[in-house]
């Protein structure tokens, strides 16, 4: 199993002021650069940045291409991932995406991972006046044509349902041929199956358990072999899972340093979500319906929750980790609520190196290809995130990286035997 970092670039508003100080975003970005540079030196394989819009406090990663371009000049080996670019043409025109991806690939020496997605929240889709019913076909059309623009000379042009353009040669072309590895955001089982059918890596952002991952791995590779309609010129078989992360010398210290990070992550995610699981007031009204852009302090709302409720979200029990059995017993039945619950929990990658090693081994046993860590979240301290990246990178990552080469890679090759499509994958 390979490892990476995952960034929403969370920036909770201060509790004692109405808005951020003028330097807060610059500081956030600079700290992230330091964290990724450290991860690069320690041999982490990937960094992924989301693209979200208008989701104050939850995600200030609105222009991932800028962050990745900067990192391409500050790092040596780490793969630079979009996790994801929102592909509806009204948000990102496919030609502009092709130009940006190819340019980044050239200046980074071929280190780009091209993650794609539809967009999810009404706050974002509504901001670009996108009809939710059309977003899936917009994603497909935008992604397919974007890949053709990168790999074909000239691009023949297109007349589609959601965008059209005449023949042009879209330049530059990416260093990786025929194009960088393709991924799609897959928070749910259904989208993992979709990823397989399109020959794309599955960016599993739903905090799946090892048991769920094992089932998905089996289904995913079977579909790759038997029912694949590649969206690109080369397929990128792979399953990635996202996990909450904080490492320290002891479990108790990791939980203390984790603070309310996962809790705030889950709360703010739910706040902007429009399906079941969204945060509601005592009267049952959706908080998002009362949201005032530029004014509402989500962090303060979170902080005002009764302590037992916040503890329930982060599952801190006298600064101890819950057992897997306790976690399973407490999980909500509904998928979205369950994903938020899992996003909040102090789970399998929060603890001492020994605890984390034991817990994430279960994902390795399930043949997970990549695990990315949500380290920067909520109001966590930068120095704690740095120490966690270093501790894990030195004490846990190397043995997994070694087994990736000796055990996982041969297993993958067996899964992909007979697949007739070209493969471009960094896994």
């Amino acid at each position: 199993m390979k490892f990476g970092l995952f960034y929403e670039l969370q920036l909770p508003r201060p509790l004692d002021a109405e808005t951020w100080d003028p330097d807060a975003e610059r500081r956030l970005f600079e700290e992230m650069f330091e964290q990724v540079e450290l991860a690069d030196r320690l041999g982490y394989h990937y960094v992924f940045f989301v693209e979200h819009h208008f989701l104050e406090e939850y995600a200030h990663s609105t222009s991932p291409e800028i962050m990745l371009a900067a990192l391409s000049r500050r790092t040596e080996q780490i793969r630079l991932g979009h996790g994801v670019i929102q592909m509806p043409p009204a948000i990102n025109h496919p030609a502009r995406v092709a130009e940006r991806i190819a340019s980044l690939d050239v200046i980074s020496g071929g280190r780009v991972e091209f993650g794609t997605g539809e967009g999810t929240s009404d706050a974002e889709l509504g901001g670009f006046l996108i009809d939710r019913a059309l977003k899936k076909s917009m994603w497909e059309e935008g992604t397919r044509e974007c890949v053709r623009m990168m790999s074909r000379t000239p691009y023949a042009g297109y007349e589609g349902e959601h965008f059209s353009m005449p023949a042009r040669n879209v330049i530059p072309k990416p260093l990786q041929k025929p194009h960088p590895p393709l991924w799609v955001a897959a928070s749910r089982r259904e989208t993992t199956l979709l990823a397989a059918r399109f020959g794309m890596g599955s960016l599993g952002f739903g905090f799946e358990t090892p048991e769920e991952t094992a089932v998905r791995v089996e289904e995913y590779y079977r579909l790759i072999r038997e029912e694949c309609f590649p969206i690109g010129e080369a397929i990128n078989p792979g399953l990635l899972v996202l996990n909450q992360f904080m490492a320290a010398e002891t479990d108790e210290e990791a939980v203390r340093r984790s603070a309310d990070g996962p809790g705030f992550f889950s709360y703010s995610l739910g706040y902007y979500s429009t399906t079941r699981g969204t945060q509601r007031s005592e009267s049952g009204a959706r908080l998002i319906d009362e949201h005032q852009p530029g004014v509402t302090n989500i962090h303060r709302r979170f902080d005002a929750l009764p302590q037992e409720q916040k503890d329930g979200r982060t599952q801190l029990r006298e600064a101890k980790l819950m057992t897997q059995e306790e976690i399973a017993a407490a999980e909500p039945e509904h998928e979205m609520a369950r994903a938020l619950f899992r996003a909040a929990r102090s789970g399998s990658a929060i603890g001492s190196p020994a605890s984390i090693r034991e817990n994430i081994k279960r994902y390795e046993d399930a043949h997970t290809d990549v695990m990315v860590f949500n380290a920067q979240c909520g109001a966590r301290k930068h120095e704690h995130v740095m120490e966690a990246i270093e501790l894990f990178g030195k004490e846990v990552l190397p043995e997994f990286a070694e087994r990736h080469e000796t055990k996982h890679r041969p297993w993958r090759e067996r899964q992909l035997e007979g697949v007739p499509y070209p493969i471009n994958s960094s896994i």
Partner: protein
């Protein structure tokens, strides 16, 4: 072996196979329409499926019949699927196919 091969109901399985063939032949719009026929057949077998799949604020969108332009309604207690788009993409077709297959398999458990 395609997933629909595990569906025991021969009529439903035949429709899912037909939808898959349409997808392979580059006709996702026909595939969506065929999946809709299959889902209406499932509602005939299990009428509770209709109520469970009608849109409501408190339900989870993706656990219901997809609303990507072939949308399910209840008219006087009877199911009706209205096609509110003329064309569907392959990803739309895959979404309807997987949803219908999952429900067919679940009903037979």
């Amino acid at each position: 072996m395609p997933r629909y091969d595990n569906v025991e109901d021969a009529a439903v399985r035949a429709l899912l196979e037909q939808a898959t063939t349409a997808m392979r032949e580059g006709d996702p719009t026909s595939a969506v329409r065929t999946c809709c026929d299959a889902f209406l057949m499932l509602i005939e077998r299990a009428p509770d499926l209709l109520e469970a799949n009608l849109p409501a604020d408190e339900k989870i969108h993706h656990q219901q019949f997809p609303r990507l332009g072939a949308n399910l309604y209840g008219v006087d207690g009877q199911p009706e699927i209205r096609f509110e788009r003329e064309r569907f993409s392959l990803s739309d077709a895959i979404t309807y196919l997987d949803f219908t297959t999952d429900n067919a398999l679940r009903l037979e458990k």
